[in-house]
Symmetry: C2
Amino acid sequence: MNELSLIRSIRRYTASGRRDPALIAGIGDDCAILRPRAHEDLLLTTDFLIEDVHFRRKTHTTVDTGWRALARGLSDIAAMGGDARYALISLALPPWVRASYVRDLYKGFNLLATQHGVRIIGGDVTRTAKLTIDVVVIGAVPRGRALRRSGARPGDVVCVSGALGRAAVSKYRARPEPRLALGRKLRGKATACMDLSDGLAMDLHRLCLESGVAAALDGVLPCAPGATIEQALQGGEDYELLCTLPPRQPVPRGFVRIGVVLSGKPGTVTFAGAPLPPSGWDPLA
Amino acid sequence: MNELSLIRSIRRYTASGRRDPALIAGIGDDCAILRPRAHEDLLLTTDFLIEDVHFRRKTHTTVDTGWRALARGLSDIAAMGGDARYALISLALPPWVRASYVRDLYKGFNLLATQHGVRIIGGDVTRTAKLTIDVVVIGAVPRGRALRRSGARPGDVVCVSGALGRAAVSKYRARPEPRLALGRKLRGKATACMDLSDGLAMDLHRLCLESGVAAALDGVLPCAPGATIEQALQGGEDYELLCTLPPRQPVPRGFVRIGVVLSGKPGTVTFAGAPLPPSGWDPLA
């Protein structure tokens, strides 16, 4: 396997018959070229997935690893209420990687990309010690309609898009499902939104910090079957959406109320009346 | 150092007083939000820079490492004739990294970003074994004017933007200068363009493959002081521009003619009449 032959294989794995007038050039040049549509804002996100940090070869299949790498970025687009359009996928490969391993990674990327109409249009390839995947996702949203973390106001209702702790219960082996359709439903309704990647306790703290508000969780959470309350609060990688809605806004189907936004020291969160510290998965702690 | 404190520092390092109506949101949300200008195509590129693959801590200063990581992406934008606008910079950090190291990396990113009017608007942070930087650069070019690798035609003249082998002579310690101004000069003139990242022999082979042509190099090359002809042909990381121009197009100032495009087996290159194999730096070979 050399660089030219690897890129040739990747072009084959990512070939698409679908015509897209907004895609001027994909893989094969120094840059990908996009022609943005009028009246849309573009969303850009980039996420690492690294061996022995985010996944282990012993416990995750190669196809699942590809799926998870792309799911992280798609979930960021969902969190802004966007449509996911394109991905650039970069691979830094250890010496043990064979061509069949790369093929299986692309099977995983493609399974999820196809579901959401995402096209892989570029990336980088090199070598390293621990398998490292970096995924850039480009999304779009009608102009000015992106959901932000910073808009929560005292009195808003705090909601989540599904049961929490599912990833922790599965020992992080389940394939996360990015909530793109649910995110789009929140356009023009939610005052703030983000995805739950590092656990509710940590992520609600972050949302409150960005919005300059506090929050009180009711003390009852939708928990995945078998999940403890700690897994629901601190288990990361659920990739459900966390959002705030104005008090008079009906809670959209697919979301569950879990608390309320308060004025108070920004970032302060309580659970059933007791302080909830912002603990969860921190790769650097 | 934890994730929240690291991101807080990075927001400080990347703060900018410059107003930009096209940047709706930078660091601090799930995605960056851009509002594309009318009549422009967007350029997207992503590049790894990895410890002990692309640089060594013993021989490269931290500031230089930051510079080099961003230079690779800016050079890709130059190769398309674009303006560089934004960067997303992701860091996977080994345990030895202290806050001061990250500060010095951002010194390097900022030195180069400021020169070219580039704003750092996002990224990811996590841990890993070997320091890994992934840089995404977003550029723009007037609609339909991006320079591609695929437009070289028999009879075109092959040119480069400067002396070759400079990086090899400096043992890859020199700070590469992305040729953004020279790339913009080629808009509407060059039939094909790319940047020289892996050496002339390898990169001209690639340009010829994409264009479906062959090429003959004259046998005389602009060499950096002290560079051998092998370093000029096979030494990578010079980040000069390689382009082809129609025969009647005057060679723009800053470029030197080094050969001619021929019809023939796509990708075939000769140097002074002898076959030149596509050898150079291949991270996966």
